[in-house]
């Protein structure tokens, strides 16, 4: 990657020896004028690692997606766009796609609502200078973030299990019939969304809390003097000033929800049938259970495209919003 040095206003020949002249020329560059181009060698180890373990797989994944291949034998047949054509009509992919969106958007909405509500409650507690219980509450709500989603899924399975779960204990104790929480696809999908949301709601909460605490209290006092109600203060001051926090939290939660894998595998395994599979769990099933590597790779490419499109679109939207506010 040869890039013109840009250190001098009158350029020398490209790639020429870069002399470290003490002459101060007007630079439009930020950064360190004393660094030679050689300093770029420092990112070679990282870039080499990405090249082998991320970029090469990304490219070869696209190539594999144009073939029919079982994943291990030497014979790969080129089938062009057949895998992609199949993908658009495959009911399993259709179900997994809908589920992926439910997991992604469902979790994101739940996490923003609960996370912001908790952050507001904690923020009020701080401003009223009662912080003892507040730190404990923050620590407890945040705790599941540090636990592996697999372990979290296992713990919640103990609660929702048909035969021995704590929830059915309560139901039968009240004289009801046992409920098949995790083997009915509708309730299983709902439970997975709730479990994923509760586990990571702490992240949204601390992001919003940090955002709230950076808002000067003067703004609220001024608004109160002008006679603004609590709701008017919230919509007029809090929401606009939380824009950066909204952007961060929403993008993080959405990526996390769209690529959901661990919790589903532990709690339902994608079952009953394929009814609770996400794109991620479906890829692993197509590859390892059905020995259908070419098709699994095509689903992988589709998942990557979906996540990239949503992330870039959200980032673009929030950046525009930020400019409007500033």
């Amino acid at each position: 990657m040869t890039v013109a040095d840009g250190r001098h206003t009158r350029r020398r020949t490209r790639g020429g020896p870069s002399t470290r002249s003490p002459r101060r020329t007007a630079r439009r560059e930020t950064g360190a004028p004393f660094l030679r181009r050689r300093v770029n060698l420092l990112y070679l180890p990282a870039v080499a690692l990405f090249a082998v373990f991320t970029l090469y797989p990304l490219v070869s994944g696209v190539l594999i997606s144009f073939t029919k291949w079982d994943g291990y034998s030497p014979d790969r047949t080129f089938v062009g766009l057949a895998n992609y054509a199949h993908l658009f009509t495959d009911p399993l992919v259709g179900t997994a796609l809908v589920n992926t969106f439910i997991y992604g958007f469902g979790s994101t909405i739940l996490q923003q609502v609960i996370g912001l509500a908790l952050a507001l409650a904690l923020d009020r507690a701080v401003r009223k200078r009662r912080t003892g219980g507040r730190n404990l509450a923050r620590a407890i709500v945040y705790l599941p973030v540090l636990v592996s989603p697999v372990v979290m899924g296992t713990m919640y399975y103990l609660l929702f299990s048909y035969s021995y779960g704590g929830l059915n204990d309560t139901v039968t104790g009240l004289g009801g019939e046992r409920v098949a929480w995790l083997s009915t696809s509708g309730s299983a999908i709902t439970i997975i969304v709730i479990v994923n949301s509760l586990q990571f709601v702490g992240i949204s909460m601390v992001i919003y809390l940090a955002g709230l605490q950076s808002i000067p209290i003067m703004y609220y006092e001024a608004a109160r003097i002008d006679g603004a109600t609590g709701w008017r203060q919230f919509t007029g001051i809090t929401v606009p000033l939380l824009q950066p926090a909204f952007a961060t939290s929403i993008v993080l939660n959405l990526i996390g929800g769209l690529k959901l894998f661990d919790v589903i595998r532990v709690m339902t395994g994608g079952g009953p049938g394929y009814s609770t599979d996400s794109m991620s769990t479906l890829i692993s099933k197509f590859y390892f259970d059905n020995q259908n590597a070419g098709y699994a790779s095509a689903v992988g490419v589709a998942l990557f495209v979906i996540i990239a499109v949503f992330t870039l679109a959200l980032n673009a939207y929030f950046n525009r919003r930020r400019l409007e506010i500033a």
């Binding site: 013109a4 420092l42 797989p57 404990l136 407890i140 979290m152 779960g165 992240i203 940090a210 595998r265």
Partner: protein
């Protein structure tokens, strides 16, 4: 009156949130302390003393202690590499903002978007070719590749906030690039290094989506796949699975109790773009 009501409401809301978050831990604890034959409600602690056999089963049949050791090895190796490679890569990207370097940095940050499962087929094929399946090495390489983009991004953002004058002074004194890096720049990076260590070690310790496929052998398996496998094999004995889950949570809980403030700070710092 109205104010007192709203204050009670706030407190009640926070208490409900805490109780909800603690339910799974509570259920797991009561389950882990009872024998399978104990059919009392999961909401109750055992009445006839604690049944320690579950933990023994988890350790002997589930290989949970071995898994914790494996997780420690992979997490330590990955975290060291992620800090070192991340800081090295971030320095030129933060300090020499040429067009090419901007593109490289944007590209590296873009890698954060790639879901691990979307490249499962090619990565697995590559690991088979390298013969790195079921090796600490292979797992570490994948963890580093997955977590390094965030590390580079955090180091680069932090370095931009450091004053240039110190490095300039060192240059005037005749220090070379590597000398400046190791003696001047790296010592200033302690706060961001703490953030990177916390974020990456938690992610790697809890990682499942890759390790479940690349570490299948019980001798190298880390905690997340070990728990999942043990739980699946213990279909009729949730009590031992609960004990295993508790055992893997204990190291994380201990770290959290000691470093709680850093964990939360680190997460906020790591998420602010």
């Amino acid at each position: 009156m109205k104010r007192a009501l709203s204050r009670t409401g706030l407190a009640a809301g926070l208490i409900v949130a805490c109780v909800v978050q603690l339910i799974p831990f509570y259920i797991t604890l009561t389950t882990a302390l009872k024998p399978r034959t104990d059919l009392s409600s999961q909401w109750l602690f055992p009445t006839g003393g604690v049944y320690w056999q579950n933990f023994q089963t988890a350790i002997e049949d589930g290989g949970i202690l071995r898994a914790i050791g494996n997780s420690a090895i992979v997490t330590l190796a990955s975290t060291i590499l992620i800090c070192l490679l991340g800081a090295l890569a971030a320095y030129p990207l933060a300090r020499r903002e040429t067009t090419g370097n901007r593109i490289v940095l944007a590209g590296i940050i873009g890698l954060i978007m790639i879901p691990p499962l979307s490249i499962l087929v090619p990565v697995y094929t590559l690991m088979v070719q390298l013969d790195w399946i079921n090796t600490y090495w292979g797992a570490t390489a994948l963890m580093v590749a997955a977590q390094l983009p965030l590390s580079v991004f955090l180091y680069a953002s932090f370095m931009r906030s450091l004053p240039l004058s110190i490095e300039e002074a060192a240059t005037v004194d005749g220090a070379g690039m590597l000398q400046i890096l190791f003696r001047v720049v790296f010592p200033m990076l302690k706060p961001v290094t703490a953030t990177v260590i916390i974020l990456t070690s938690v992610s790697v310790w809890n990682e499942y989506a890759l390790s479940v496929f690349f570490l299948r052998d019980p001798s190298v398996r880390t905690t997340a796949p070990a728990i999942a496998t043990f739980f699946a094999s213990q279909g009729s004995d949730p009590n031992a699975a609960a004990a295993a889950a508790l055992l893997t949570v204990i190291p994380v809980l201990a770290a959290y109790l000691v470093l709680q403030r850093y964990f939360i700070k680190g997460m906020v710092a790591g998420s602010e773009k």
